[in-house]
């Protein structure tokens, strides 16, 4: 569209929004006020401007009455600016010749007095009319995109997103900081409510991911930096040295058998067992290549003469001289799938975690159940015997003003899963202490009923303390759980052999720093902020950056998988056309006015401004500029102006508001 200097011919449309606006604002008065404003040719009111007939009203008036500027006085531009801009385009005028006056969120909904609300609405409309008279048409261009996706995190969310995107033909790179993909799900034994074996349903996905021609996996790696913009992200990945050559290693495991440094606490087994310095976290790890934990390695970390793994490695895969490797990747979209960490119950001294050896967190108990865990899947206490009575304490670190106020969503279900597994494997008597039982998913309520029928004692009441001081001599060596039963209104003191604390979920360590790399914000609890709680759960305000799984908020496996495919779907939609449109509302520096002072270059957070030495002026890169306006605000010659937010436009709006 050519830039026009024609006289503005403005149409103003005042929406009733049903009763939302009309109940407080006298829309007729606003309409009449608009009719008297300069350059306004048409002013109408209608019940629902965003509806088809409402939009048709605008379109017809533009075509038949020669309107070239439109003001709609209705809701927030964040709601419907796009809707009305489309209507303008459909009628043949530039979508930038449109301005909204927010007389709903900014007037009718927040102003109790009708006269005040109407007066304010009139002023907002007048300001919009004054502004729109100075709008200019803006142009965009299309930039090629890289048809690939970066996925940060290789748990079930990351893997699912990767498979969906890869199947659509996109190239996928997964960056995972642990030595293997699999995430937390690799630690579980059975999953609720179907009691599927976690490994059985996940390992096929792990294998698919590792073998898919479109997917590259970097484990024991971290993302160092992300620059660029939607469709054209430049990512630097740091691959930490494994000290084992991935190409040569056959995964035979002899190095782990022979390693003399055997006393290191195993992270994968939640501290319940020890591992060696050269290790692979679990038998089904993908890739199978072990890593050397340099800090605890006798040779690399303690300066001792060792080298046993190298000596025994038949594939000659050990390489003590490995350095970190940096890989640069281009990606069109980024999906965060950084997962969660379990709440550490140590501060809750009354539960005795860390003081009594038979108090476990839920993740520790998962390891006891898992066949690759410290007890090969049998539920055994540290004395080697199975427990005869077990207490499960719900909501540890969740629904708690002192720690996390939110509900972690999965703990009731996994607690009941534990109760079932205990009954199944040991026949133990099981007590569960809950606040509420939350079982909202498919077959979840049925699972709850089943657990009740299996004879689990479900007590509605919080646990006050867990103590080793017994009430009766025969309970010496046991733990006594002191709890309230709010339904019978009595205090219970139950001697048990083992206690499981159902700990809540928290954002993974370091996730907020990784999020900052692509401008992803966190909410008050540290989870990544989605674009819109209801209608944008997998997107973020940053174009081309998506979220999948628990990093956005605690959820179970079915929801994680659904969200991961959704995030991949969004990435596929974004990249499917092969190009993205640059923003229209970006900065432009008038080469005739620019004095070459370079002030703007220093303030640009996106390094989007460069200096043309030959002409001695600054120039904006239209693909990088995000339109923040920092350059325009500092420019001494006012040569830098942001399209659609020029000094001229803003100052006319201000002037009219204050007249």
């Amino acid at each position: 569209m050519a830039v026009t200097t024609e006289k503005p011919v403005i149409g103003v449309y005042v929406c009733h929004c049903g009763m939302n606006i009309a109940s407080k604002v006298d829309t007729e008065a606003v309409k009449n006020h608009a009719r008297g404003l300069q350059n306004v040719k048409v002013a109408e009111e209608y019940k629902f401007m965003c509806s088809s007939p409402g939009q048709d009203l605008i379109i017809n008036d533009i075509k038949k009455k020669g309107l070239n500027r439109i003001v709609v006085a209705s809701c927030s531009p964040r709601m419907h600016e796009i809707t009305f801009r489309k209507a303008c385009e459909a009628a043949g005028i530039s979508k930038f010749f449109f301005q909204m006056a927010n007389i709903r969120e900014n007037s009718s909904w927040v102003t109790p007095d009708k006269d005040d609300a109407t007066g304010k609405a009139k002023e907002l409309v007048a300001a919009a009319v004054a502004r729109v008279s100075h709008h200019k048409d803006l142009s965009t261009r299309h930039v090629d995109v890289t048809k690939s996706v970066l996925i940060i995190g290789g748990g079930i969310a990351g893997m699912q997103a990767a498979l969906t995107a890869a199947e659509a033909g996109l190239k996928v790179v997964i960056v995972e900081r642990e030595p293997s993909i699999g995430g937390h799900m690799a630690k579980f034994d059975k999953t609720f409510p179907t009691l599927d074996c976690a490994a059985c349903i996940m390992t096929p996905k792990m294998v698919s991911v590792s073998q898919h021609e479109n997917i590259t996996v970097h484990t024991w790696s971290e993302v160092e930096s992300i620059t660029g913009f939607v469709g054209n992200f430049k990512v630097r990945v740091k691959k930490k040295p494994r000290y084992v050559d991935e190409e040569k290693c056959t995964g035979c495991g002899v190095c782990m058998e022979k390693c003399p440094s055997k006393k290191i606490t195993s992270e994968f087994d939640e501290g319940l067992t020890r591992r060696t310095a050269i290790f692979s976290p679990f038998p089904q790890a993908v890739p199978k290549t072990p890593v050397i934990d340099a800090k605890n390695c006798l040779k690399l970390g303690k300066g001792k003469k060792c080298g046993i793994c190298e000596k025994f490695c038949e594939a000659d895969a050990i390489n003590y001289d490995q350095e970190p490797e940096f890989v640069d990747i281009n990606a069109g979209a980024v999906i965060y799938a950084t997962g969660f960490k379990a709440f550490d119950p140590t501060p809750l001294g009354q539960y005795g975690y860390g003081r009594y050896q038979e108090v476990y967190t839920s993740l520790e108990f998962e390891r006891l159940n898992n066949a690759t865990g410290p007890t090969s899947g049998s539920i055994l206490m540290k004395n080697g015997k199975p427990p005869e009575t077990v207490a499960i304490v719900h909501c540890v670190g969740s629904r708690d003003k002192k720690y996390n106020t939110y509900c972690s969503r999965v703990c009731c279900m996994y607690s009941m899963k534990f109760a079932h597994l205990l009954k199944d494997k040991t026949g133990a008597e099981v007590w569960e202490f809950y606040i509420d039982v939350r079982s909202p998913g498919k077959l979840y309520e049925e699972f709850y009923n089943r657990v009740q029928e299996e004879g689990v004692h479900l007590v509605r009441g919080r646990v006050a303390e867990i103590t080793d001081i017994p009430d009766e001599p025969e309970d010496i060596g046991k733990l006594t759980v002191v709890a309230e039963n709010t339904l019978t209104m009595k205090t219970l003191r139950v001697p048990v052999d083992m206690v499981i604390l159902s700990v809540g979920l928290e954002p993974a360590d370091g996730s907020d720093d990784v999020g900052k790399l692509a401008g992803v914000q966190t909410d008050g609890d540290g989870w990544f902020s989605e674009l819109h709680a209801k209608l944008g759960p997998v997107s973020t305000p940053s174009a081309g950056v998506y979220l999948a799984g628990c990093c956005q908020g605690p959820k179970d496996i079915p929801d994680t998988v659904a969200q991961a495919s959704a995030a991949a779907g969004e990435a596929i939609a974004l990249l499917s056309k092969g190009t993205v449109e640059t923003r229209a509302e970006i900065s432009h520096i008038d080469p005739d006015l620019c004095t070459g002072c370079k002030t703007c270059i220093g303030v640009c957070a996106y390094s989007a401004i460069s200096f043309d030495e030959s002409l001695n002026i600054a120039r904006v890169n239209d693909a990088l500029c995000q339109g923040c306006g920092s350059c325009a605000a500092v420019c001494p010659s006012s040569s830098a102006q942001v399209g659609h937010f020029t000094d001229n436009q803003v100052m006319h709006e201000l002037e009219e508001l204050l007249s």
Partner: protein, 140 residues
């Protein structure tokens, strides 16, 4: 003498404070009608001359609302705004405007109730200060 109804302009950023204002709207949290919002993409977009123009045009109070430090959609536009607003404030003071007439506050996107509180509080402050001197001095 007519009751003093101050004219207050609030220049707020699209991503945080304007969103909070919308949230205050959907939550039906009312605040004084004297407040007029001007939507900008970022507080970093605010040229000091907008503030001066507002006061010269008869604003009794100017409120600037942006994202909390660390949360700016454009990384650090709000930090730049803070510096510029401080400079504008000292300039205004030299010309006899009370410094409390200009306020910069961080209001996050989810902070609907806080937005309402700040609007109420700022209106009270301006009410207490009375009409800005430009109204008396300007010959209309």
């Amino acid at each position: 003498m007519e009751e003093f109804r101050p004219k207050i302009v609030a220049m707020v950023c699209n991503w945080c404070t304007y969103t909070a204002a919308d949230l205050a709207g959907t939550s039906r949290l009312d605040y004084p009608a004297e407040i007029r919002l001007v939507r900008l993409m970022c507080t970093g977009m605010i040229d000091p001359k907008y503030i001066i123009k507002a006061f010269l045009d008869g604003a009794d109070g100017v409120f600037i609302g942006g994202c909390h430090p660390g949360d700016c959609h454009y990384i650090d536009g709000n930090i730049k705004a803070e510096k510029r607003v401080k400079a504008a404030a000292s300039l205004l003071e030299q010309f006899g405007f009370e410094p409390d007439r200009l306020q910069l506050t961080w209001i996050g996107a989810s902070e609907g109730p806080e937005f309402q509180e700040h609007m109420k509080h700022f209106t009270q402050t301006i009410n207490a200060l009375g009409p800005s001197q430009t109204r008396e001095l300007m010959v209309l």
